[in-house]
């Protein structure tokens, strides 16, 4: 079964003109115009968008963010410096994530909005005795026990009164609250919005910001419904003892009680079919306080809703191209070995669920089933957790194009979020 990516026409046009002789080394190609379009696609909504800097190291994308006047969410001193160097207005920068004293000092000095991750951060800011705008990141805003309430981030909601005690009478301006939960539903985001509105009314009546973080799903596939069929297919094959997947729990497929093969919810992630805009609209139309839409509350109160997308905003902004080195037979079937490795794609954050496109010079019309591997001397250097069906057998020098590789693409190439490399010491 083929799983197609959803590809913008300008990217498809570019790929259609590629020939194998042009590229002989792993290459990433970025399309800033797609980011511009993604931003413009949601700019009419009453939601303030901050691009999560950690999702990209591509300078052109920051330039587009500046040009489109959206905000930037930085998670390290280095990201902050980069954003400032790009010319992003400090008023449009927010610092999130855990912060050490040096980072806190820098963001306070630059008058950056700070999402306070711990009482330690709050105390540190207080001691600096400088006017500072903050959001309070809450770990567990929902009454429901959800996965992300066990996060390492944020302050427990039972400590909001402590927050109040710390900031009262200081130069700290609590402007609102913040929560991030990967993949949580619009309904959950609506409930969290209500929780934050209640906290604002109770503790910080002048606060005017609610940050719902990132973690928005993407419409990754041209036909998301095909993903279900694929998973069923893989489960059946596994039951038959066929080795069509790689790894211990590919796509959540595992062996359960009585040696039965089952799939998990994670297997369904790629079947999400809502666009980023549709997800934002879903949040705005959530009914809270009996029958009031979130959108109406925002409009009537001048409270600002913030989001910090990474993947969703950088959706389809880049592709990764790998030249084929050779093919070989393995016990599981065929292996296509590419010139490159899995640290060069965003697999470390999220597998490229759609099949790559093969650009080949092979004239023979015969499908070829294979796994795709890299040149690393590691058995897990496998690009996708399943065998894929290519239109033809690849030949040396052919190209494999992976789509939707514009975010977190180089996560493992340098240090995440541009944190500096550790020092190295040799002790004799």
């Amino acid at each position: 079964m083929k799983i197609r990516a959803e590809v913008p026409s300008n990217i498809q046009s570019y790929v259609d003109t590629l020939t194998s002789s042009e590229i002989d080394y792993p290459t990433r190609v970025y399309f800033p115009e797609v980011l511009r379009r993604n931003i413009q696609f949601v700019e009419d909504l009453p939601i303030t968008v901050y691009l999560a800097h950690k999702a990209t190291k591509t300078q052109e994308f920051l330039t587009i963010a500046k040009e489109q006047s959206i905000g930037i969410d930085v998670a390290s001193e280095q990201e902050l410096e980069n954003a400032l160097r790009t010319g992003i207005d400090p008023k449009k920068i927010e610092a999130t994530g855990p912060k050490n004293k040096a980072f806190i000092k820098k963001v306070v000095e630059k008058d950056i909005l700070i999402s306070v991750d711990s009482l330690y951060e709050l105390q540190t800011i207080k001691e600096m005795n400088v006017p500072t705008r903050v959001l309070i990141r809450i770990a567990n805003p929902s009454d429901k026990e959800i996965f992300f309430s066990k996060t390492k981030f944020g302050i427990q909601k039972k400590h909001i009164t402590t927050v109040k005690q710390i900031v009262d009478g200081t130069k700290i301006d609590v402007q609102g609250f913040h929560y991030h939960g990967d993949g949580i539903s619009a309904s959950m985001r609506g409930q969290i919005t209500k929780f934050f509105l209640d906290q604002i009314e109770t503790y910080f009546p002048k606060a005017n910001k609610i940050n719902l973080g990132g973690g928005f799903s993407e419409k990754r596939l041209r036909n998301p419904q095909n993903w279900h069929k694929l998973i069923q297919n893989l489960i059946e094959k596994k039951k038959e003892g066929k080795l069509t997947t790689w790894g211990t729990k590919p796509y959540g497929i595992q062996t359960g009680k009585n040696n039965q093969v089952v799939g998990s919810d994670q297997a369904l992630l790629p079947s999400k079919s809502k666009t980023f805009r549709e997800q934002l609209l879903q949040i705005l139309t959530q009914q809270i306080y009996s029958s009031t839409a979130v959108r109406d509350i925002l409009e009537d109160t001048n409270i600002e809703l913030l989001v910090e997308p990474g993947h969703a905003l950088l959706y389809n902004t880049g592709i990764a191209i790998f030249p084929v080195s050779h093919t070989k037979k393995i016990q599981r079937g065929n292996l296509v070995v590419v010139n490159g490795n899995t640290f060069m794609i965003s697999k470390q954050m999220r597998e490229p669920y759609a099949d790559p496109e093969l650009l080949t010079t092979n004239k023979e019309q015969k499908e070829y089933e294979a796994f795709i591997g890299g040149l690393l001397c590691r058995d897990d250097d496998i690009f996708m957790s399943r065998q894929i069906t290519l239109n033809k057998k690849p030949q040396t020098g052919d190209l494999l194009v992976f789509y939707n590789q514009g975010s977190y693409e180089s996560y493992q190439e340098g240090t995440p979020q541009s944190h500096p490399l550790p020092e190295t010491k040799i002790i004799q």
Binding site: E201, P205, Y289, T292, I297, E299, D300, T301, N302
Partner: protein, 409 residues
């Protein structure tokens, strides 16, 4: 109570007091003369009885002919029964319900191409002219009751005046719609002749450009033989929306299931009497029932039936700056309750916009006595409701720039 015929049940209609909560007028006792409770549902039953029933033994012709597209035709059609045929010659009947009812009553309907309910003497094709021509040509066939000129029309209503005076000897003001003028003339004359302190006689017309079934504007009255402007102490005008608002007010708050001309009169008397200092006893004619006008309401107040409002027909909204809010205005903050709790506009009440729109579809919640200023966040969302209120003759304003531009919030 036993009667020899349905015709005997015409008249002696109740005089019903309207509650203060409904009319909201200080120093006023208000009564509705329930002519809609006549057997065929209107004040015209009296002239049907007087012009036809009381004379029927002397009518040699086979067919009674009249120009009426409404209540007079209905009364005559019902009363003629098997004794005579009934034919109405009229301009196009605009109320489909009445047309169907007349057909059920076996009426011979001749519709002319005109759209005006009132005959126009300058047009040779006007209904009265056509009838006169037919009667002239076939005098043995047609008997013309001639409601526009038959003196028995106002004469029939003298009896109504007598009933009113008997029930309310202290009457100070009388209000009625001017149609053929027969009702106001007959009742007014009786009251003036028989009451020492003659009550004020108020006639109510439809404003030019408005359409109220059965109503007339001043220009349409020239054909009516009974109309004399100087007869009235006061003549008032009202619009389509006045008629509907007044009608709905009486229906929804007082259970008086009346038609739009009654609403027109009710609205006019409330305007006239709102600052009355002297105690007054006032009677108005509730002239017919609401049922035939459902179609009229569907067209002119579609919101009642959850139909799409024809926005083009709504007046332009008017705005007021914060510094120019009328001092006696009712301030309505239409933002969501959370926003109102957070920063409600000073001295305002909170009715969220969606609730306000629903309420306005169901009932009248503001009076025309006080201006209303609607407040939203940016001064935009309330504009549509302001237009709706203006169409209902409420002096409504939109607060310019809303709360975001306010210095008080």
């Amino acid at each position: 109570m036993k009667y020899e015929s349905i015709a005997e049940t015409v008249g002696n209609t109740p005089l019903v007091k309207i509650s203060k909560e409904t009319h909201r007028l200080d120093n006023v006792e208000l009564y509705a003369k329930m002519e809609m409770m006549n057997p065929f549902g209107s004040v015209k039953d009296r002239i049907g009885k007087k012009m036809y029933w009381d004379n029927k033994e002397h009518i040699s012709q086979n067919t009674i002919i009249e120009s009426s597209s409404g209540n007079t035709a209905k009364a005559l059609a019902a009363l003629t029964g098997t004794k005579h045929k009934f034919k109405t010659v009229t301009n196009r009947i605009q109320i489909e319900y009445v047309k169907k009812l007349l057909k059920i009553l076996n009426t011979d309907i001749v519709e002319l191409p005109g759209t005006n309910e009132c005959p126009d003497p300058t047009n040779p094709q006007n209904p009265v002219a056509v009838i006169e021509q037919e009667v002239k040509e076939q005098s043995k066939e047609y008997y013309h009751t001639n409601q526009y000129f038959n003196q028995e029309n106002p004469e029939a209503h003298r009896e109504t005046g007598k009933e009113i005076l008997k029930d309310l000897p202290g009457i100070t003001d009388f209000f009625a719609d001017i149609g053929t003028s027969g009702t106001t003339r007959g009742i007014g004359e009786y009251l003036r002749e028989n009451k020492e302190n003659s009550p004020n006689i108020h006639g109510v017309l439809t404003e030019g450009g408005s359409y109220v079934p059965g109503g007339r504007d001043m220009n349409e009255l020239f054909e009516t033989g009974f109309f004399q402007k100087e007869f009235y102490d006061h003549i008032h005008n009202g619009t389509t929306q006045d008629a509907i608002n007044g009608m709905l007010h009486l229906i929804q708050q007082e259970g008086i299931l009346c038609g739009p001309t009654t609403g027109l009169v009710f609205k006019a008397l409330r305007k006239e009497l709102k600052d009355t200092k002297r105690h007054k006893k006032v009677v108005f004619i509730a002239c017919d029932r609401m049922e035939p006008y459902v179609e009229y309401l569907e067209k002119h107040r579609p919101s009642i039936f959850n139909n799409k409002v024809e926005e083009q027909s709504l007046p332009e909204p008017q705005s007021v700056s914060e510094d120019n809010i009328p001092p006696n205005a009712i301030l309505v903050d239409t933002r969501v309750p959370y926003a109102y709790r957070r920063s409600g506009y000073p001295k305002s009440i909170n009715i969220p916009l969606n609730h306000l729109e629903e309420l306005l579809q169901e009932t009248t919640i503001f009076s025309e006595d006080k201006p209303v200023v609607l407040i939203c966040a940016q001064g935009e969302k309330t504009k549509k409701v302001v237009s709706t209120l203006l169409s209902q003759e409420i002096d409504a304003y939109n607060l310019e720039g809303g709360t975001r531009a306010s210095k008080k919030v």
